[in-house]
């Protein structure tokens, strides 16, 4: 799940929001929403951050919400980037639901586990689509199988690798049989791969499902009114939402693509835009000072990291990787790139992803050392490894300012410990090739990323780089202890025991450093002071984020 470089900028921008004070990155993530107004709302396990803004109380007729570019598709199997996720999660619901704090809750269905290789989903009574049709097991089965169908070219096929069958087993029941126990599937089914759509509508729409000229059918508190590229995705409150207790207060939400940062900023300042999960914004200081905009920070699921893509060069020696990590000026990255809105890492995964087994994760995380800079020790390690004077090649793009800035930090770190750095710089558009094209990685020792998994679990991202079949394991990184812990975690039902295993894998990964964590960005929401109630944490990407949105009292 390689984050696109662009994002980077986005995230950085977002982060800019945070107070400079946030920079203190000691154990307690003090990135508090500071001036932002984190005073209200639930306090997340990551201290000082809020998972949601206080629920809205007044009806609002119409708002415009910005995303970093136009939404391309409303079909969940093609939702893989910020705009599409934001649109799908606004209107559609999954079998299970990821709460703003990352915990898994029942969604359209409740889950039972009669044995480790069987998941039984019972659809909640009254669950119905916008058109009034009840959600049936046939809809659920059809939607999941559609996600598995490789011929459609959907983006989530690999999520279902352990599934052996999906069948309707009752008037309100769907049973998933597994080849091996898979407790990661729960998380995925609380995310985009678990979105339930209506079978008859999908069949009738065929290829047009989710395109601007086609329609969609979901179950959420907001329903699609229109989808015109350029003009945006317009969603209106669903008056017959099946969960009667939730009443959408905003009559109409327009999701509009605003790629230009200065346009986004002036839009927010003048009230043309009422909200944004600020991705890609360099003007957050300005927004924070504005009297019209409130800025919140929440737990992020994101990690900013250096991917070691070749274990054949100097970085093949774990001592050199450790030395490079030790020599990195992370505080500098937090200050200059993220302007304070990121945390110092202890592990590869962001502590925002602790969605279950929290006490276990928190305890293990608190024990892990903060990755502070220590150049003297790093130098010694390089000497021990006999790597002094060796060269590492970093894949980068000078057109992506944040990538370039972090690359600069790595250059400085490497030089300080006696390594030479060569840059392989490509255009902004070609940066993605490091992730998807083996030819682009030839001769490159590593490159930078901002990455995330589909749900709040450190394993969601970690699995992509430490498991042999992981999509981001670029040079057959293979550590039996880490693999064993991860495989065991995947098959462990008890959340605390699973958390302990994942924590162990994280600790080992932090020593082996197949990726070097740089910083842990927080999730940032910029919203009009007249509005409140949106999710602040990164859960907005995967679960309804506007159900409590409304006017301030």
């Amino acid at each position: 799940m390689a984050r696109r470089p662009h994002r980077w900028a986005a995230v950085a921008a977002v982060t800019t929001l945070a107070l400079a004070a946030a920079a203190c990155g000691r154990s307690a993530p003090s990135t508090g929403g500071g001036g932002g107004g984190s005073s209200a709302g639930n306090v997340s396990p990551t201290k000082g951050l809020v998972t949601t803004s206080p629920a809205g109380t007044k009806p609002v007729s119409s708002i415009t919400w910005a995303v970093y570019r136009d939404v391309n598709s409303l079909d969940p199997i093609y939702a893989f980037d910020y705009p599409e996720n934001t649109a799908v999660s606004l209107m559609c619901e999954s079998l299970l639901r990821q709460a703003p704090d990352g915990s898994l809750q029942p969604g359209l269905a409740t889950l039972a586990n009669p044995n480790p290789k069987t998941f039984v989903f019972t659809i909640k009574p009254g669950a119905k689509f916008w058109d009034g049709h009840p959600v049936t097991p046939a809809d659920v089965v059809y939607g999941l199988k559609r996600g598995m169908d490789t011929k459609l070219g959907g983006f989530y096929g690999q999520v279902f690798t352990r599934v052996s069958s999906i069948t309707a087993t009752g008037s309100d029941q769907v049973t998933i049989k597994l080849k091996q126990p898979d407790y990661w599937l729960e998380g995925e089914l609380a995310s985009i791969p678990g979105v339930v759509i209506e079978k008859s509508v999908v069949q009738q729409q065929g290829k047009n499902y989710g395109t601007p000229s086609g329609k969609i059918m979901c179950t959420g508190a907001y329903e699609l009114k229109s989808f015109a590229p350029g003009a945006g995705v317009v969603a209106t409150a669903n008056p017959d939402y099946w969960q009667g207790s939730t009443k959408a207060l905003v009559q109409q939400i327009t999701l509009k693509g605003v790629p230009d940062t200065s346009t986004l900023t002036s839009g927010l300042l003048t009230g043309g835009i009422q909200g944004n999960y600020a991705v890609g914004i360099a003007t957050l200081d300005q927004l924070e000072k504005s009297t019209n905009i409130k800025v919140y920070q929440g737990p992020g699921w994101l990690t900013d990291a250096f991917i070691v893509s070749s274990l054949k060069g100097a970085l093949g020696d774990v001592r050199v990787r450790r030395a490079l990590s030790m020599a990195l000026d992370r505080q500098g990255i937090i200050d200059s790139v993220y302007r304070g809105a990121a945390l110092m890492p202890r592990w590869l995964s962001n502590p925002g992803t602790f969605g279950y087994g929290k006490s276990v994760f928190d305890a293990a995380y608190a024990k892990a050392p903060v990755m502070t800079q220590n150049i003297a020790a790093a130098k010694k390690l390089v000497q021990q490894a006999g790597a002094t004077g060796k060269t590492i090649t970093i894949g980068t793009s000078s057109q992506l300012s944040d990538i370039a800035a972090v690359t600069g930090a790595y250059q400085a770190a490497a030089q300080a410990i006696g390594l030479n750095v060569k840059l392989k710089s490509v255009s902004a558009q070609n940066f993605i090739n490091f992730f998807i094209d083996p030819k682009a990685r030839v001769g490159v020792d590593g490159f930078l990323t901002v990455n995330y998994g589909d749900y709040a679990d450190p394993a969601a991202m970690l699995s992509t780089l430490v498991l042999p079949e992981g999509s981001q394991n670029y040079d057959q990184f293979h550590d039996p202890a880490i693999i064993a812990a991860m495989e065991q975690a995947r098959s462990t039902a008890d959340p605390d025991k699973r958390a302990a295993l994942v924590a162990k894998a994280e600790q080992l990964t932090a020593q082996q450093l197949p990726w070097i964590p740089n910083v842990q960005p927080t999730s940032v929401l910029a919203i009009s002071k007249k509005l409140t109630g949106a999710t602040v944490s990164f859960a907005y990407m995967f679960a309804p984020w506007a159900n409590s949105l409304g006017g301030t009292g």
Partner: protein, 304 residues
């Protein structure tokens, strides 16, 4: 002529986009690593696994049948996507052209015919504004009239006709401002020049009334250079509109062209380019026709 221009332009643009860095599939996922099986399915679907000439041929044979193809990112017909946006760009360019013709030519005439304080200040103002590129004008206009004064909206298209005009005002001014200044200066210069010609001086000495003098002897002759410059600047607006549309987040063809080129959405880039090339050619033809109307010595179809 139009057909030849379109054919050449389509090939050159197709080749340029093909050779440019980037990957249309990557644009779909925002750069997250897609499973290889999905990539293979998608590449096959959009003929991306074919060689360059084959891809161009697919596009060309479809285009000749009136089918401009499918957008990769939106899975939608390109002609539909263009139709949704063409009016924004057309409206913006027309609005800006109107400003250029009315204000630009008007100012030029005034200062050309009435030397004095107005003339001097026009000269100074136009000298400065001729040098303001559209993107700078956009930023300044948004800052002053949208953020500070709040008179006009900072972005978007608007919902009704009046609202549309309100939303398009700042963009049109940003788009028009430097061309407007140039047109004003050229108008002023050519009016002056004509005014000093012998036949005009003779007419003055013969006591021909001012109004008739201006209409018949000055304006008629000054019209040719004015038309030329106005025509060229209006044609150039079509290209510059992309910058302004992006700055004001307008839902127009130019901004979409930029976006599509970034995500290497070939069919969209091709479709929009053809529309813009056609518009450019049409504007130039209109200018040629105007020459014939203005100057009897010019005949259509002959060598100018």
């Amino acid at each position: 002529m139009l057909v030849a221009s379109l054919l050449i332009a389509s090939f050159v643009i197709f080749a340029a986009v093909y050779l440019a860095p980037g990957n249309p599939i990557a644009a779909l996922s925002g750069g997250r690593s897609l499973p290889p099986s999905s990539i293979a399915v998608l590449e096959h679907r959009y003929h991306l696994d074919q060689p360059f000439l084959a891809q161009y041929w697919y596009w060309l044979s479809d285009a000749l049948h009136g089918n401009l193809g499918l957008s990769i990112t939106l899975r939608e017909n390109v002609s539909t996507l263009i139709a949704q946006r063409v009016w924004t760009t057309a409206g913006l360019v027309l609005y800006a052209s109107l400003l250029i013709c009315v204000i630009g030519i008007g100012l030029g005439l005034l200062s050309g015919l009435r030397p004095g304080r107005l003339d001097t200040s026009t000269l100074v103002v136009t000298a400065v504004s001729a040098a303001i590129p559209a993107f700078v004008a956009a930023i300044v206009l948004i800052l002053v009239f949208a953020v500070q004064l709040g008179w006009f909206p900072a972005l978007g298209n608007g919902t009704s006709l009046v609202d549309n005009i309100r939303h398009l005002t700042l963009p049109a001014v940003a788009l028009a401002i430097s061309s407007l200044a140039i047109v004003a200066r050229v108008t002023r210069a050519s009016v002056r020049e004509e005014g000093e010609r012998e036949h005009v001086q003779t007419a003055v000495s013969r006591g021909i009334p001012g109004r008739q003098l201006i209409q018949r002897h000055i304006l008629r002759n000054a019209a040719i250079p004015i038309t030329t410059v106005t025509g060229i600047t209006i044609a150039s607006l079509i290209a510059v509109a992309a910058v302004v549309e992006t700055a004001f987040s307008l839902n127009g063809l130019g901004a979409y062209l930029v976006q599509a080129a970034e995500s290497k959405d070939l069919a969209v880039v091709q479709g929009i380019s053809l529309v813009l090339v056609t518009a450019f050619v049409v504007v130039n033809v209109v200018v040629d026709v105007l020459y014939a109307a203005l100057d009897p010595r010019v005949t259509l179809g002959g060598n100018r």
